[in-house]
Amino acid sequence: MSVIRAIVAAFAVFILQVTIVHRMSVLGARPDLMLVLLVVLVLDRNPVMAIIIGFSLGFLQDLGNASFLGMNALAKSLIGYGIARYASGYLPESTFFKSLLILLASLVSSIIVLNIMSTFNPLTVLVSFFRHSILSAIYSALAGVVVFLILKLFPRRVVRSVGRY
């Protein structure tokens, strides 16, 4: 049941990402809702499940943009593993810290994606990182705050079936 819910949530967020999010850009930066969902889903899960979820969400995102098929799958697999392995269990039960985790995850994801896109050109990565990635990461973190606050309104058992809140 929880897997079905997670799949439905993934598709719903993906639809939002490709339909609504591009209209919410601020100074060219857009929130990565798939990354926010990834953090929500992989917190308090085992690393194997986190990798599978990360890979699936990334691959779903890649299907939307076939120029670099596998790029988001790679980035989100690594991020999912990192969160499940090193953040789960240590992260305090606080919306602030969870948003901070989204910020860091977004920055790491940007570094991976930029390196793949620029074929590991450090200058291009550095310029793009400071020009776009930081703002997008902050935007994603703020979107995460909203998501976590919304999740707090739902009964615990409903959210637990999808992920930690």
Partner: protein
């Protein structure tokens, strides 16, 4: 077996991660065309509804932008059309004025109305010609259809023109057809009354009234109004003759000041009028 045990029991998470990374790298390193085609094949099948929704939102946004652009264009064109309409009307007026000026044997100075008085009972306009153009107090002011008033004050580069629609003004007029003389007095709006018309005088509806030229202040022969009603007075001694002015006195824009002409030289009269304030017509 030991390797499988090592990979899938002791280090399952790392093994799965390695598989995920390898799969991702394989997808990235695959031929671009095959990547794109396979991805498009999968996504077109899976995300057909999503693409429809996305296209809807994109179309909505494009329509909004287009709507905004078209509204701006419509507003611009509307203003442009208004301006062109005004230019066309002005051109028509000026052509009429030009024709009037060419056909007349008077000398005119063209002028434009710059301001209008806001006083309900003392209608006057200011025109953009003054002493510098040789304008003098008492000069008649006409539109292309006929008399509208006369100059009562002259400044350096402007003059004040008292219009016919004032209670203080009477104009001596002739019936163009029957040559009957009467005094034209303002009643309201563009309506006037021709006084001193006896019962037997030949004045008919539709007759045109022109300036008589008596007193030589106003030049003779300028149309002033048209008779639109002739009614018997109760006294039975005179008749009530209602006249509508030739020119709409509320919409004056371009005018002419009559400065002279053949058979009409009132230089001495104007010089004497300079010393008089607000002369009666």
């Amino acid at each position: 077996m030991q390797i499988i045990s090592f990979l899938f029991e002791k280090h399952l998470d790392k093994t799965v991660l390695a598989i995920a990374i390898i799969l991702s790298i394989l997808m990235l390193s695959a031929d671009e065309d095959s990547q794109i085609n396979s991805a498009r094949g999968i996504s077109s099948f899976l995300f057909y509804p999503v693409n429809r929704v996305s296209a809807y939102f994109t179309d909505m946004e494009q329509l909004k932008e287009e709507n905004l652009r078209l509204r701006e264009l419509a507003a611009t064109l509307h203003h442009e059309r208004e301006r062109l309409t005004q230019f066309r009307e002005e051109r028509n007026r000026l052509r009429q004025l030009l024709g009037f000026r060419k056909d007349s044997f008077f000398d005119f100075i063209p002028c434009e109305v710059t301001t209008r008085s806001s006083n309900r009972f003392h209608h006057s306009v200011t025109v953009d010609r003054g002493k510098g153009s040789g304008i003098k107090v008492g000069m008649a002011v006409v539109g292309y259809r006929g008399l509208v008033g006369r100059v009562v004050q002259v400044f350096g580069s402007s003059s004040r023109v008292l219009l016919l629609n004032n209670k203080s003004i009477s104009v001596s007029c002739l019936d163009k057809r029957s040559r009957v003389v009467g005094m034209l007095n303002w009643e309201r709006g563009n309506l006037f009354r021709l006084d001193f018309i006896g019962r037997e005088e030949d004045v008919l509806q539709g007759d045109t009234l022109i300036t008589s030229g008596f007193g030589k202040i106003l030049p003779k022969g300028f149309p002033v109004g048209t008779v639109f009603q002739v009614a018997e007075e109760k006294t039975e001694l005179s008749r009530r003759v209602s006249v509508v002015s030739m020119t709409d006195l509320n919409t004056l824009e371009e005018l002419f000041i009559v400065v002279g002409g053949r058979d009409w030289d009132s230089e001495d009269i104007f010089n004497r009028l300079d010393t008089v304030k607000d002369p009666a017509m």
